[in-house]
């Protein structure tokens, strides 16, 4: 049986900086998970993925990451791996937690 679809956001890394980025509702790439477009149907998720894949070559390793809605109605990571990608490493105040602060 096919796995039941769970909501996603589209994520990638920026080619030049390597930074983690997310696709928002304007079709732009942004830095914060919570600003990503929440993809709550399978059709929409794959549509956005294909659309983004066709655009520019300057984004790397596009994939759909599991997401859920927080109390503030903004998307947040549904798995701890995405939480680390969205925040940065836990041993130093580096990465997004420093840059987005």
């Amino acid at each position: 049986m096919a796995k039941k679809f769970t909501p996603k956001v589209l994520t990638a890394n920026d080619l030049l900086s390597g930074d983690v980025i997310y696709w928002n509702d304007n079709g732009d790439w942004v830095d914060a998970f919570e600003d990503a477009l929440y993809l709550d149907t399978e059709k929409l998720a794959f549509h956005v993925l294909r659309l983004a894949q066709k655009q520019g070559l300057d984004k790397v390793g596009l994939y759909l990451a599991d997401a859920e809605l927080g109390d503030d109605d903004k998307p947040r990571p549904a798995h701890f791996r995405e939480d680390f990608r969205a925040t940065g490493p836990s041993n130093y105040h580096h990465g997004k937690q420093a840059e987005l602060a």
């Binding site: 030049l16 390597g18 701890f80 791996r81």
Partner: protein
């Protein structure tokens, strides 16, 4: 130390020019990521969880002060001010930008370093005993052999696309400090009945998904037969090794499936032909390489200052007891600088610390440094009269932690704080264990103990061969840590036994604490180290400590 020849220099510069052009073509869109990825990986550039990561080879873990300074410069100019030493005797930079990488590679080339073959299905950076050339128990320095293997394997066309990566480790003494039994090929120096030095050739060891202790392929191989013999092993592997399944492609599976006897027969047959084909050229090269590893000009000086400080300063005494090892010259010591200050990230050194260590090597230690697979830095040749001054400088730089071989000298892979393949974090677990046992002031009492932590089944943190191994997994979307006990990375190598169900992130440190208290309780006396106790009593008492609720349920 080996210095690049004109040929080496040209080769590296050519490679760097090629890569610079490839990066430009990637940035201007002429190369897709699918086209570019294998090219960047061939030059050690990975894309990790938060950023790119550049893995730089430190061949057989040996480098000089100038090279260490250059690593400091790279850390500062192109990264976030630090570098991470790995269990493969490499250094990794966690935050380089793509545009800067060609400049980083040029900066490395200036000091005769590179990032070639630190990735991909080829013969990787050859690792060696970090006490090479200095250890009192050494038969011969293994580094000329390692350098010969490096030159032979670099860009070797026949072995550029093996079924899987291939790792070779060499040790020059019978004591195995290079984990030779967990490598695709392990070379351990031994003497035969006539007193000649040669190698015991071990094959098919490896950790990861299917951990295996290597098997002896040849009990004794003359040093001069090494290259044709190793080439024969590679040829047999290249032909028989599986390419249908990535997880069954390492030589350990080839050996397991075909049997060591079959492999031995095929290798010996190839070897006859290969030896003739080499025609002695390898020996000429080997003789030249050997000259580059001449013993340093040892000093002799009075030791009064050293003895005096030892008598009056308890922390210096503790440092001397814990971080020094016996050198073949009685006036000298081998010093291990701990890159495991309690609560810090194992293997991470700041640019300033790298510079301090470079300076000490230049001023007091015959300009030589080593990186150990245990993620520490070694000064292989330290005259004892210089110890007080070296200690003072280390202390000032936060590098004088006296914990080598103790519970806080933990190997930890980058885990989910950096690694794209990780299933859980390893660094914070190491930090917490070290901090906890420092608070308890127990670590010297506990004595020799190796904790090794990996953030996934790939086992870069060598957890299978830790006395206590910790493997971080993802269990239904939550970090979970599995404990193995009784592993051993030395010549008496063993794979640790799984203790039972895993522990949640906030339960793992208390679990380790229970293990340790049990050990302290049941050891026969304070000279019996953890591994000995484990071998004497087995898993059961430790299991009872780890899972007390099950004990109660069973009663």
């Amino acid at each position: 130390m080996y210095s690049y020849t004109e040929f080496d220099k040209e080769f590296i510069n050519e490679r760097n020019k090629q890569f610079r052009a490839q990066v430009e073509r990637r940035i201007d869109g002429s190369l897709t990521e699918d086209e570019f990825k294998p090219l960047r990986l061939m030059n050690g550039l990975y894309l990790q969880l938060h950023a790119y990561m550049l893995r730089v080879a430190i061949p057989y873990g040996t480098l000089n002060g100038g090279q260490m300074r250059q690593l400091a410069l790279i850390a500062e100019k192109f990264d976030k001010g630090y570098g991470h030493f790995t269990t493969r005797q490499n250094i990794q930079f966690n935050w380089p930008k793509l545009r800067d990488v060609p400049d980083i590679l040029d900066a490395l080339a200036e000091v005769e370093m590179h990032a070639i073959q630190t990735s991909g299905n080829c013969v990787r950076n050859v690792t060696a005993d970090h006490f090479a050339g200095a250890a009192s128990d050494e038969i011969e320095d293994p580094r000329p052999t390692a350098e010969l293997l490096r030159q032979w394997s670099t860009d070797h066309p026949e072995f550029a696309f093996l079924g899987r990566k291939f790792k070779i480790a060499v040790t020059g003494s019978e004591t195995d400090r290079a984990v030779t039994k967990a490598h695709d090929i392990g070379l351990r120096m031994v003497r035969n009945g006539d007193g000649d030095a040669g190698y015991e050739v071990i094959v098919g060891g490896g950790l990861g998904r299917t951990p295996m202790i290597g098997k002896v392929l040849r009990e004794f191989l003359l040093v001069e037969d090494l290259l044709p013999y190793v080439e024969s092993v590679l040829q047999v592997y290249n032909r028989l090794g599986r390419r249908d399944n990535k997880y069954k492609a390492r030589i350990k599976i080839t050996v397991h499936e075909n049997g060591i006897e079959t492999i031995r027969e095929l290798v010996e047959k190839r070897f006859v032909a290969q030896r003739a084909a080499f025609g002695g050229n390898d020996q000429k090269l080997f003789a030249q390489i050997k000259e580059a590893f001449a013993t340093p000009a040892y000093l002799t000086a009075p030791l009064d200052g050293f003895v005096e400080l030892q008598n009056k300063d308890a922390s210096f005494r503790s440092f001397v007891d814990t971080n020094l090892s016996e050198h073949k010259n009685p006036e000298y010591s081998i010093m291990t600088i701990s890159i495991k200050a309690h609560g810090q990230t194992p293997g991470d050194a700041t640019a300033d610390q790298l510079r301090v260590m470079a300076g000490i090597a230049e001023d007091f230690a015959h300009n030589e440094l080593r990186i150990s697979h245990e993620q520490n830095v070694i000064l292989p040749h330290v005259h004892k009269s210089n110890l007080p001054e070296i200690y003072a400088r280390l202390r000032e730089a936060g590098l004088a932690t006296a914990n080598i071989g103790l519970i806080s000298d933990i190997i930890a892979c980058p885990g989910m704080d950096y690694c794209a393949l990780a299933t859980a974090r390893s660094i914070p677990v190491a930090q917490q264990i070290a901090t906890r046992f420092d608070e308890l002031k127990l670590e010297h009492d506990i004595g020799a103990l190796k904790i090794k932590i990996s953030g996934c089944i790939n086992a870069c943190g060598h957890h299978h061969v830790g006395h206590i191994g910790i493997l971080g997994l993802d269990r239904a979307g939550v970090e979970n840590y599995q404990i193995t006990l009784g592993g051993d990375h030395t010549e008496t190598a063993a794979i640790g036994e799984r203790a039972g169900p895993g522990f949640a992130y906030d339960e793992i440190v208390p679990a380790i604490e229970r293990l340790i208290y049990t050990y302290l309780d049941i050891r026969s006396d304070e000279n019996e180290v953890f591994l000995e106790t484990y071998r004497r009593v087995g898993l059961e008492p430790f299991k009872a400590a780890l899972y007390p609720e099950q004990q109660i349920a069973a009663e």
